[in-house]
Amino acid sequence: AQSVTQPDIHITVSEGASLELRCNYSYGATPYLFWYVQSPGQGLQLLLKYFSGDTLVQGIKGFEAEFKRSQSSFNLRKPSVHWSDAAEYFCAVGARMNYGGSQGNLIFGKGTKLSVKP
């Protein structure tokens, strides 16, 4: 069965410091992979996605993620965190289907809450 693990429930970093949020997935083949961010009272916003090709993916707001097949990981990184990055971050996996899309549903991890110290 597909699953997503985000090992860190809560991370605190200082403003300006680098950030890495971990994500491991379980899936029988190469999946679609995503990172979403959720601010309080807001919906989920897509930061970046991996479908195929280059394993280093660039996203919005200065985030990037690297797909490592051998480690079944898709960790999110940012070189310098801003106070406005404080939010909850969700990693998600979607199943591939032959027509190029997915079967429709995403499997989400439980999320990592990021706090930023001034």
Partner: protein
């Protein structure tokens, strides 16, 4: 509208009451999803529509949950005889065609409806 719109934003229901949650997807989006997000958890898939057809309802937790999308645009999630364990944020997402292919994984989320059952 520009994004996925959900109403109401907040709903308080007495145990045993029926509720209806509405989702207005992005205009022209073929696919529509409902997710349930319990406190401190990631979103969990409930059901998926392609146009008016409900192709997957494997995530609906009980027969008290019912979803419809009769004209292939607006969708309603109905919960009958609400229970305290139904308290959660209910998220709606939609996606469409990209590059001529149905890319269900490019999901855009609404802000959600927070349901509290007392």
């Amino acid at each position: 509208g520009a994004g996925v719109s959900q109403s109401p934003r907040y709903k308080v229901a007495k145990r045993g009451q029926d509720v209806a949650l509405r989702c207005d997807p992005i205009s022209g989006h073929v696919s529509l999803f409902w997710y349930q997000q319990a406190l401190g958890q990631g979103p969990e898939f409930l059901t998926y529509f392609q146009n008016e057809a409900q192709l997957d309802k494997s995530g609906l937790p009980s027969d008290r949950f019912f979803a419809e999308r009769p004209e292939g645009s607006v969708s309603t999630l109905k919960i009958q005889r609400t229970q305290q364990e139904d308290s959660a944020v209910y998220l709606c997402a939609s996606s469409g065609f990209y590059g001529g292919r149905l890319q269900n994984t490019e999901a855009f989320f609404g802000q959600g409806t927070r349901l509290t059952v007392v």
